[in-house]
């Protein structure tokens, strides 16, 4: 063996030592965790299907990659319908599919778990999460995203901005000409997310049906995408939007001075992106590493600072995270519990009845 070759060998050994020290068991995790890390490194790969834009998640992916360089992430960003379709098709065909499903469609995620697609995982991070944020240790809530009222700051005067649901109805009723045809919300027949928000809203507050009637009287514009609603509110084509996913609105408000966001003081619904590890995962240990990382203080801090998705953890002080919002709004915060309650409206008859009620309430006069 020549000197040069020996040097190279030492370098290789040094590098693998370095990667071992990097991939150390995080503080506070059980000692057995090293076995998971080793197994994950052997698996070498992690396939994620997610509804969150890779653009937002890239800092987390990079950071995870630095922690566990042996696990290569393949991140697929798709919408929630495609995610569900692809996953069940691939599992049925016994083809390779995701190791982690991470979707904002809470109902579809819980349905997958209910249909027996998920495996339970006892995450060491569980103690740091609110009780409502997991179901059977199969589905975990990873974010804390308020459902908000969004308005155009230039065209809606500060004293008009509604602070509660009652204010909102009142505003629409007392300014019929100004708001005619300029109110927007999700088309719940087309948008699964919109349906989820509205049905949870109706559970929380039976007064929603009065609100729906007022929306109908004002000729509400129905959209299937949050982005289109924000765009139209920003341009002034619409003035105010109801039940809009707050994380996207707040992210846009940072860049766009036209967008104002209100979290209603009487009650604010909060939804959460749900992550689960499928039974069919080909790289289950890598999936566990990602799940724990995503829920860890480190991952959640990046998520809230870089991806603008507020943290679900109780111990992170970000501006829109759970701890902060709770301090601000107290018991008005109503998180949507992860669990079988989300399955109600996946029953065809109940769902169609709900849609019919919504349609009749909002029909154009």
């Amino acid at each position: 063996m020549t000197g040069k070759q020996r040097n190279t060998l030492w370098m290789v050994a040094g590098l693998s030592c370095a990667s071992l020290t990097l991939a150390a068991v995080p503080a506070g995790y059980p000692t057995g965790y090293q076995a998971t890390i080793d197994a994950a490194s052997k698996e070498g790969k992690l396939v994620i299907y997610a509804t969150t834009d890779l653009k937002l998640v890239q800092p987390l992916v990079n950071d995870f990659q630095a922690l566990y360089p042996a696990v290569k992430i393949e991140y697929n960003d798709v919408n929630s319908t495609e995610l569900y379709n692809r996953f069940i098709s691939e599992v049925a065909a016994n083809a390779g599919s995701a190791d982690v499903l991470w979707s904002s469609a809470m109902d579809m995620q819980v349905k997958l778990a209910n249909d027996g697609y998920a495996q339970a995982y006892d995450s060491p991070e569980m103690k740091n999460l609110p009780d409502w944020a997991n179901w059977r240790k199969e589905v975990y809530g990873t974010t804390f995203e308020p459902i908000t009222i969004v308005y155009n700051k230039r065209l809606v005067a500060a004293n008009e901005v509604p602070q509660t649901h009652a204010d909102f109805i009142n505003l629409l009723k007392t300014n019929p000409t100004k708001y005619q045809g300029k109110v927007t919300t999700y088309d719940v027949e087309k948008s699964g997310a919109g349906f989820l928000f509205l049905s949870q809203d109706a559970k929380q507050n039976p007064g929603v049906w009065d609100l729906a009637k007022t929306l109908g009287e004002r000729g509400v514009r129905l959209q299937s995408s949050t982005g289109t609603m924000l765009e139209r509110i920003s341009t002034g084509e619409n003035l105010i939007g109801y039940n809009i996913l707050g994380s996207y609105a707040l992210a846009r408000a940072q860049k766009d001075p036209q967008i104002g966001v209100v979290m209603p003081k009487d009650y604010t619904l909060v939804i959460s992106r749900l992550a689960m590890i499928p039974k069919s995962a080909k790289h289950p240990n890598a999936a566990r590493l990602w799940m724990d990382y995503l829920l860890s203080k480190r991952g959640q801090t990046l998520l809230s600072e870089k991806a603008e998705l507020p943290s679900v953890r109780k111990d992170i002080e970000d501006e829109h995270g759970s701890a902060h919002l709770r301090a601000q709004l107290g018991s008005a915060i109503k998180p949507v519990a992860v669990g079988p309650g989300l399955l109600t409206y996946l029953d065809q008859a109940k769902r169609l009845a709900f849609l019919k009620q919504w349609r009749e309430a909002t029909v154009r006069k």
Binding site: L54, T81, I88, A93, D187, R221, T228, L352
Partner: protein, 557 residues
């Protein structure tokens, strides 16, 4: 002889297999009550019952009919007139107009529709500028009338392409004779040229009507918020209506769309029986001469420019503007919001950069391969009237009846459940195959019109002098359609660049294409990036087109 017959059989059966596997899958799915791959699925007509009980279905059907009719009434006369002006007269600025005419072909309708919103929507910048002049805004881009009008205007190039290639291949001697006998240009156009190109016009009319039934992007962006449904957006709506995706309902609607479009296929087939009228490249030369328009030419030019302004300039300026501002709207000073950030963001993301590369590849390499495939299919059916040719004629037109989104999903199933294909799913091959099949009807029309222009006497001469069938193809037919193939390549390149719905389900790391990413970015609300990516996409296609023309590819001859 034997090898020729064998390879012909192989081409035909492969085509039929690729076309009908997804269709059969969709038809079968429509008769079930759950995804076909689930364990406890039952046969039944529930899906159809649901659809036929739904008042939305009838509304969507009526709207589709209206849009298709509107498109027919707008696109055919205008496309025909445009073809006549550009092919036969001394209209000023023809070179530039010919290029601009193609622009609507390569911009995806979703992007186009979004461009109209930015430019001419209720607070669009044209609207805001013109409001002081006009008082109330006289138009509403979200109305059904506007959707039909825009759809009609943007389909003018489809008719133009077919009828201008028919016109260019007709000798102008008959028209000159009419002029000499004292007819004015309008009389020549109506009484001489029109009857000669009527098969091409009829054919493209049926095609446009047919496209009207599966139009998706335009009504999605413009019609949705007002509750105007068409069949394709109704199908899209059913995706989520029951909470979890309802394949059986989507498949049932797709079958209904096919039920409408299939009679149109039969009609096209009937019209093609008059195909011999297309034969114009004969063993003798036909001279072409331009018809002087005289003072009429300025009126004609003004009309053409008006159309270009409405269909190209308005939406395009909307998109470009949106790509360079961070926000806009009534009372916003656009100079304050100018930014290059959206473009910077795109180049910072590896997946978007990959999408740019893949899109160029699918257009250039994939387009070339698709043209070769179409030519092989075209030759297999060329000059034959047997049963197998009929199989081809019908099967090439069927895929266009299935909306791209569902066709993409069906292809995902094919790649998942057909043994041996699963390895290809994560590669560009899957995207290529789906695109090639979805655009089969369009591509075949390009190729077969090139093939039809070759007079049979040239091939017969070769056969009589002792050349085998395959030799005739190789040495006579192919060299004669060479330029037609090149032109088809350019047109397919443009179509593949703009295709958006088919790739959605086949999108994985490594198979990103701009079109599919636009849909997913749009859904996620990144309108900044949608606009910037569209501008990049349009520039790419324009560059490709410029290069092709620079190297002397002629799109119509």
């Amino acid at each position: 002889m034997r090898t020729a017959a064998l390879s012909r059989g192989a081409v035909i059966s492969l085509t039929a297999l690729t076309v009908f596997t997804p269709i059969v899958l969709i038809f079968y799915q429509s008769l079930l009550n759950a995804p076909f791959f689930m364990p406890n699925t039952q046969l039944g007509l529930d899906a159809y019952r649901f659809v036929f009980d739904d008042p939305d279905f009838y509304q969507a059907f009526g709207n589709s009919l209206m849009i298709a009719t509107g498109m027919l009434c707008i696109a055919v006369p205008m496309g025909g007139a445009l073809a006549f002006l550009l092919a036969r007269t001394d209209l000023p600025g023809k070179r530039w107009i010919e290029l601009a005419v193609l622009v609507p072909v390569f911009i995806s309708p979703m992007v186009l529709a979004f461009g109209y919103v930015v430019a001419a929507g209720p607070v669009g910048f044209f609207t805001v500028w013109l409001r002081p002049l006009l008082g109330e805004t006289p138009w509403n881009v979200y109305s059904m009338t506007s959707i039909a009008l825009i759809a009609g205007l943007t389909h003018v190039p489809h008719v133009f392409l077919y009828s201008s290639s028919a016109l260019r291949n007709l000798g102008s001697d008959v028209e000159e004779a009419a002029r000499i006998s004292g007819a004015n240009p309008l009389q020549v156009a109506l009484n001489v040229s029109l009857p000669m190109v009527s098969p091409a016009l009829l054919y493209s009319g049926v095609l446009v009507f047919f496209l009207g039934f599966e139009i998706f992007g335009l009504p999605l962006v413009l019609g949705d918020p007002e509750g105007h449904l068409v069949l394709a957006t109704y199908l899209y709506k059913l995706t989520n209506k029951l909470g979890t995706p309802s394949y059986h309902l989507m498949a049932a609607v797709a079958v209904c769309i096919i039920a409408v479009t299939f009679p149109l296929v039969l009609l096209q087939r009937y019209l093609l029986k008059a195909a011999s009228r297309f034969v114009t490249v004969k063993g003798k030369a036909a001279r072409q001469k331009q018809l002087p328009l005289g003072p009429w030419k300025w009126l004609a030019l003004a009309l053409v420019l008006l159309w270009l302004w409405l269909t190209v300039l308005v939406p395009l300026s909307g998109i470009v503007l949106r790509a360079f501002v961070s926000y806009w709207g009534e009372g916003v000073n656009l100079l304050d919001t100018l930014t290059l950030a959206h473009f910077r963001e795109i180049f910072e993301q590896p997946s978007l950069v990959r999408a740019l590369i893949n899109s160029v590849l699918i257009g250039v390499v994939g387009g070339a391969l698709a043209v070769l495939a179409y030519t092989a299919i075209g030759l297999a059916g060329h000059r034959r009237q047997d049963a197998l040719s009929k199989v081809i004629d019908y099967s090439v037109l069927v895929p266009r009846a299935v909306p791209g989104l569902l066709a993409g999903l069906a292809f995902l199933w094919v790649f998942l459940f057909v043994p041996g294909l699963s390895g290809l799913r994560d590669t560009m091959v899957s995207i290529w195959l789906a695109y090639t099949v979805v655009w089969l009807a369009y591509g075949m029309r390009l190729i077969s019109s090139a093939l039809l222009q070759v007079g049979p006497e040239l091939e017969e001469a070769a056969r009589v002098t002792g050349a085998s069938e395959s030799r005739t193809r190789r040495d006579v037919t192919l060299p004669l359609v060479r330029f037609g193939m090149l032109a088809s390549w350019v047109l397919i390149f443009m179509i593949f660049e703009r295709e958006y719905s088919t790739g959605v389900y086949l999108l994985t790391p490594g198979t990103e294409v701009i079109g599919a990413l636009l849909v997913s970015l749009w859904a996620a609300g990144s309108i900044d990036q949608v606009a910037a990516l569209s501008v990049i996409n349009i520039s790419l296609v324009a560059a490709g087109l410029a290069i092709a023309l620079r190297f002397g590819v002629k799109l119509h001859d």
